[in-house]
């Protein structure tokens, strides 16, 4: 909470977290691509290639469709802002984030939804069929992920007695006031992992490396973007991926995170964090190589599994606790 930290320290911590999220996100995207390339017996571009791509995009002159309205040019910034704000509610390297009081897990979910809403609008704005198709598909995927996500997070929140993310992470890291109950935790983890794949547009729900009209969801929505707008969009989607990986890494295995604000603890926290999300990125890259993309109308089954898992997690929590 904000009480035992000076306002100065609070702002510094928040800014540091924002900078970590913004700067690490492209590397994670690069890492996943590298893992995929290696598993497909390709050399692949370097891990830091996305930074160069972003740099290039920033310098290009953007083209905006003549049919588009101000929604089209405003959306990249809204998506960026909402994703980053949601990211600031998840503790990254220090468990007690000053912004903890500003929003709990529901605020996190709904902030991301704000970005999704504008992304769907932007997809429709250019007037091509591709954009509309992406928007339509994105909305069905979002509709099915959200209930599963809320249930999974609630199952975790119960154990910590809080729905504020920093509080959950802090308590779990210190094993304080936690009802240890691995079965419900594991089920919630599985549910949240499926949700992560769906929300961040990864295989088997969506394929981020495709521009085929039959398969794309997220890419179809941002198809009309170019130049700096595309750069901001890409960066935001990288941050979203990283934020979800952070959520999984820190809520389920928070150990190593800085529970006190000292230089040593913070550096250890940051190092452990990078290792954890890199590990998860490798896992995602591997999964993307092992599975084929699902047909759109098989996706509800997968997300249904996530929902049921989360619900079982909740039930187990109540039954095992007695």
């Amino acid at each position: 909470m904000i009480t035992d930290q000076s306002i100065f320290q609070a702002i510094a911590l928040t800014l540091a977290q924002a900078i970590v999220l913004i700067s690490v996100a492209p590397a994670i995207v690069g890492l996943i691509r590298k893992v995929k390339a290696r598993l497909q017996c390709r050399q692949g571009a370097g891990i830091f290639q996305p930074y160069a791509d972003l740099r290039k995009l920033f310098r290009k002159q953007p083209v905006v469709s003549t049919t588009a309205s101000w929604i089209f040019t405003a959306t990249p910034y809204i998506v960026f802002a909402s994703t980053l704000t949601a990211g600031l509610l998840v503790p990254v390297f220090a468990s007690q984030m000053p912004l903890n009081f500003a929003g709990n897990i529901l605020a996190f979910v709904y902030l991301l939804a704000l970005g999704t809403f504008f992304l769907i609008l932007a997809g429709l704005d250019a007037g091509s069929s591709f954009g509309g198709m992406g928007s339509s598909r994105e909305s069905i995927v979002a509709s099915l992920t959200e209930p599963a996500m809320i249930m999974a997070i609630f199952a975790i929140a119960l154990a910590a007695g809080s729905t504020n993310l920093s509080t959950i992470v802090h308590k779990t890291a210190l094993l304080e006031g936690i009802v240890t109950d691995p079965s419900s935790h594991v089920m919630a983890l599985a549910a949240l992992f499926i949700v992560t794949l769906a929300e961040t547009g990864r295989v088997p729900v969506d394929n981020p490396a495709t521009h085929l009209e039959l398969t794309m969801i997220h890419e179809a929505m941002v198809l009309e973007y170019s130049g700096r707008y595309l750069a901001v969009m890409e960066w935001a989607s990288g941050i979203k991926l990283l934020v979800f990986l952070t959520l999984i890494a820190n809520v389920f295995v928070p150990w190593g995170i800085a529970t006190r604000v000292t230089p040593v603890a913070l550096s250890i926290g940051l190092a452990v964090y990078v290792v954890k999300v890199a590990g998860l990125a490798v896992l995602i890259g591997t999964i993307e190589c092992m599975f084929a993309k699902l047909r759109l109308f098989r996706v509800p089954d997968l997300l249904g599994v996530a929902f049921i898992l989360a619900l079982l997690g909740l039930l187990f929590f109540y039954i095992l606790r007695g």
Partner: protein, 675 residues
Amino acid sequence: MAILLFLTLVGYAAGLLLPLCVPARPKVQNILAHGLAGVAAVGGCCLGITGLLAAKPFEMSVPSTLPLLTFAIRLDPLASFFLLTISLVSLAASIYALGYVTKFYGRVSMSLLGSLFNGFLLSMTLVVIADNGFFFLIVWELMSLISYFLVVTEHEKSDVRYAGLFYLIMTHVGTAFILLTFLLLFQESGSFSFDAFRQPEQSLPDGMKTMVFLTALIGFGTKAGFVPLHVWLPYAHPAAPSHISALMSGVMIKTAIYALVRVCFDFFGGYFPWWWGFVVLAIGAVSAVLGVMYALMEHDLKSLLAYHSVENIGIILLGIGAGMIFHSYGFEELAALGLIAGLYHTINHAIFKALLFFGAGSLLYATHTRNMEEYGGLLRRMPWTGACFLIGAVSIAALPPTNGFISEWLVFQSLFLSYEIPSLFMKLMLPIAAAMLALTGVLALTCFAKAFGISFLALPRSSHAKHAEEVPWPMRIGMGFLAAGCVALGLAPMLAVPIMDRVTASMIGASISEKMLALGGWALTPVNVEFSSISSPVLGLVLAATAAFGLALVALHGGTRAYRYGKTWACGLNVTPRMEYSATGFVQPIKRVFSTIYQPTVKLETDFLEESRYFAKRRRFEFHIEPVFQKYLYDSVVTFMSGLAHRLRIVQAGSLHLYLAYMFVTLVMLLLLAL
């Protein structure tokens, strides 16, 4: 306070009578009627605020010559809160109507429309402040009848007449049940005054209590329009002129919520079994999900909004139901939280739904059609309407930092805090209701992405949309007023929560606003600060800061270069409106995934050329979804009734002699009975 009350009632009464007396010049009648309504609505707002702040309820009563009827008025915090909600929306509607009704000049009698408008507002005001059952029924019936007349304003259209008739029947079935409720209460207390109903020592037998609850639930439920009593809503609300639709959807259905809270928490003093709360919760959850699902399939903008009222009433009932459950288990603070969540969503829904109906009205005004598939590209032609509609859409989709988010957040919290309840069943049911609420929220997001995206973005889909122009100033001011309300109630919950807390404190006795506002009001928590907290002003600030950060990032990388316009790439063809995604196409995946609920039927007929089966001469595509409740619940009743009527027609032979014989037989029978 009496002066304010006088001003409000006289203002509406004058607005009711004067337009009928002035010469038939539409412009004069318009300004007179809506100006007076606006003044009276301001009086109503002030009255509501004073009523909420007053130490004890304001009471007034005028006896009548009829037995059991007193014109008793009581302004307790609950009544004041609903009065404030109604008056706020009425004020906006009065301003908006000044511009909107000009489209009826010469077609509809302006004196009648203006007079009925005032009568409608007057009757709604009286409904929430009435303190006598008999009086309540009279004004309730007035409200229903006047709204019927307003629904059939454009009675030359046959679908409007059908909608009106449907509404009239449904509302009277509802009134019958409400009458039954009051008669049951009267039977026990021997009086129609609300004071007699709320005597705590009055001990109704359990069976009787249940009867009263069920009749009230059905009676007020038909007005509130929850599933399965919602069927009239999507017909009647769109048929009325748009400022009336806004009032009906935004506030009239809330009078039913008012009455349900009044009956459960006031008349029964909160003494009810847990399953009442569960029934309300279950109805709320089902209404929320089904309401938004049917809304998704609507392409008539106003019907879509009407279905969203079903959804939002469901969300309000989720809050109130959770409050009732907590109350029956003795968790008074959590009960207050649930009730506050429900009330907060009540005022929020009143504001954003009225705003959206105004937006739909503006589109109708500018394009002369309600069909979304004929809109498109309107954001450039109607920037004000577009911006206001967008704010309303973001609010109803419960996205931060607007008002819909705050109240849905509170409903979620009261459902999550279910882990405190001792019963395992309830522990599980409330989170499942929360999951249904999550589904509702995201489907509402989809629905409004569709509504806004298809209507306002991309290319115009018809010549109507191509030639649309921005609406006149009064309409823009009406919308802007409500849009500002959406933002204010979203960013400043610390100002709104204490107001609702006064209502729950008077109903339940637990005052929790101090516990709900942490960090000097900057953060909002559901009683338990450890469990969760949120701060919408800070979130808004962080959003603004991060957006600025993004802009700075772009500027640093030479982002100052102007962009270039180019045509949307359409595989080498010229982009035409026919390439755009339509509303139907947009929701196709949802229709398919939830086909169990929609039960869609698709019919495709093709006439081929005689020469070859490879060339089609004509194709006919037909598609509709099955309105399940209408088909299985209502149609069977209608079939039964018309069958019965058919049978009974035998007695009606058309011969005068036979009728005289009936009379004679009846007379003889009565005489025999009298003996």
